[in-house]
Structure formats: C-alpha cells, structure tokens
C-alpha cells in the first residue's frame, strides 16, 4: 500500500491534435503528500490511518478492516480487476478508493478533515 501511494508512474501528455507532447514521471499522489500511514495506535491492525496533506489541507483517511471483510485476510490477486503482479487485492482496491475519494479532489474543496475509505453503501451487488 505504501509502495503504491509513494510511487511515481510514467505519464504521457497529448496535445489537442492527439500528438504526444511530453512524457514525465508523475507521483501517484499527484498534488497530495503522504504524511503518515500506520495502524491506529488504539485499535491496532483493525484500522489503518492514512494522513494526506495538500495545499495546506490535512486529511486523515481511515480504513477499517471490518469494511473489507472479504479482503482483509486475502492475499490473492483477482485477475479480472487486479492487473498488478506485485500487489494483492486489498492494496490495489484501497489505492483505487483513495484515488476516487481523495486524490482526485482539489484539497481546497475538501471540507472535512476525516474521510472513511470504504465501499459506498449504494454500490450494487451482482
């Protein structure tokens, strides 16, 4: 998880005509910075705390193991949605959720200091 968040990836930039204009390394966190990633001192391994800062804003993301009951002990890789060779399902899934729920947002637009990372309740089940 930490490796994913602190990683950089090659990003290609395209101009209006579709031509490649630039290729550079872009951090996974983009405009955010990881200040802390650790288990909750009181709750232990049942809660992961991820503190992100950006543009003077600090957001604490909490990840409760109880919100991911089918993944918390799962070290497998589900090929239909986890295309990474190195990371298990929980790390990949959490990285996508953090991206959706925090990283995509402008720090100035986030009005809360605490965000609970979990699957939204209204997500449909097969």
């Amino acid at each position: 998880m930490r490796e994913i968040l602190l990683s950089t990836g090659e990003t290609a930039f395209y101009g209006p005509d579709g031509r490649l204009t630039e290729v550079k390394q872009v951090p996974f966190l983009e405009q955010w910075h990881l200040s802390e990633l650790d288990f909750d001192p009181d709750l232990g391994r049942s809660r992961l705390v991820c503190v992100l800062t950006g543009a003077g804003k600090t957001v604490t993301a909490t990840i409760d193991a109880s919100d991911f009951p089918d993944l918390r002990d799962n070290t497998s890789i589900s090929p239909e949605w986890n295309g990474s060779a190195a990371y298990h399902d929980l790390a990949v899934h959490l990285s996508v959720l953090i991206q959706e729920q925090i990283l995509v947002r402008d720090p100035a637009d986030i009005r809360t200091d605490q965000i609970r990372i979990r699957i939204p309740a209204d997500r449909a089940k097969p």
């Binding site: 990836g9 290609a12 005509d17 579709g18 996974f28 239909e80 295309g83 399902d89 996508v96």
Partner: protein, 217 residues
C-alpha cells in the same frame, strides 16, 4: 483527426430525423435548457473534440411555437445519444442477477506506448470494478448514463494524459466542457481507470472544475 470522428452530429441523435442545427435552433426558440457536452483533449482553451446534446427532460414538446418542428424533447438522454462505436449496450443492464462478466460496453482506447487503439471493456463487474463499481459516480456527473458513457468514450479515445500506475492500472484523463446557452461553461476533468493488462475498466468518474463565464470555446 480523432476530433472529427466524434463531431458527426447525426450520430449523436440517430433516432430522430432532425438535423442537429435545426434541433439547436428549435431548442433556442423553445427556451429549453440545453446542455452541450464538449470533450477536448487539452486544457480549457484546447480545441473541442466532441459534442453531445442532452435536452432537459422537463421541457414539453407541446410548448413549441407555430412553425417549429415538434421534437421529443422529453426523451431521456439515452434515447438521444448512442455512444460512438463499438459500444455494445446503450443501457447498462446490470441489474441483480446479471453476470459479472456481462459486457456493458466496449470503447476504442488510444494506446499508451504505440500508435493505434486498443479495446477497453466495461463489464457489469462487482463492487471492486466495472459498472457496479462506478455506478455511484454516474449520479455525481451530469446527464446520466449516456453522458457518462460518452465521456468515457471520449477520454479513452482522445486522452489528454495516460498515466501508468504501479497498481496495474492506467489513469487516463480528458477535459470535458459542460456548456450552457446562458453563456458560461463548466470544465470537468474526466478520469477513466482501465486495467493495463486486460483493458477491463475498473472505475471512472468526473471531477468538476472551474466555471468560466464566457461562451463555450
């Protein structure tokens, strides 16, 4: 040029025999609120690459003044828009019981490290990926599923950026202009995250940006 492939107005309203310009003019006379969706492959001032039209579901065709050709302005967006080929399904059809590997749509996607295009697939999926994962984001965007699918198609076909992520996904982005006849527009950044190895779409979402108080570029 990719932009031209998406600018065929008739393709965007395939179920009616009203030319796009005539429809625009009629909408103005009706004072129907109209949202035009423009997708560009660069920043705000970039060249527009696509245009879609979604008419408000609140307008009534019967309000048309004499001489204006009636048109089904009450139609939902999905009736007005069929996403660019090779999309398979215009509506998701991922209700309870639908198989996780049911294909909702396929999209032509610009290759990252080579010329040409690949095919990305949106499956019904589950809470981890695919339509069932991204479904909540549709309501956070504008225009419903048809507009959302259109934005996905534009982003994948003509991205402004393609990033390679260590979690096995691409992150592809493109600006989308939400234009208003009142003379302003909103710039969204649309993001699609497909799995690199298979092209299965994990998620997609729009991020609302600034409002520009000028006519759409």
């Amino acid at each position: 040029m990719p932009a031209r492939e998406h600018s065929g107005k008739e393709r965007l309203v395939p179920n009616v025999n009203i030319p796009y310009r005539e429809m625009q003019a009629a909408a103005r006379q009706l004072q129907v609120p109209v949202i035009r969706l423009r997708a560009a492959i660069a920043a705000a001032a970039a060249v527009m690459v696509a245009l879609s039209c979604v008419l408000s579901g609140t307008a009534m065709a019967s309000t048309a003044p004499a001489g204006v050709r009636p048109m089904p302005v009450t139609a939902g967006a999905s009736a007005w828009y069929v996403a660019s080929a090779p999309v398979i399904a215009a509506t998701p059809g991922c209700g309870k019981g639908a198989n996780v590997r049911k294909v909702v749509a396929t999209y032509k996607a610009k290759k990252h490290d080579a010329g040409g295009y690949r095919t990305d697939t949106l499956y019904c999926g589950n809470i981890r990926y695919g339509y069932r994962h991204l479904e909540p984001h549709i309501g956070q965007y504008f225009g419903g599923w048809a507009s959302f699918s259109f934005a996905m198609a534009q982003t994948l076909k003509a991205p402004a950026t393609i990033g390679v992520q260590p979690n096995g996904n691409y992150k592809e982005t493109a600006p989308i202009y939400q234009c208003f006849y009142a003379g302003y527009y909103v710039i969204w950044t649309f993001i699609v995250i497909p799995e690199i190895s298979s092209g299965a779409i994990v998620t997609a979402y729009g991020s609302k940006g600034k409002t520009v108080h000028e006519s759409c570029p």
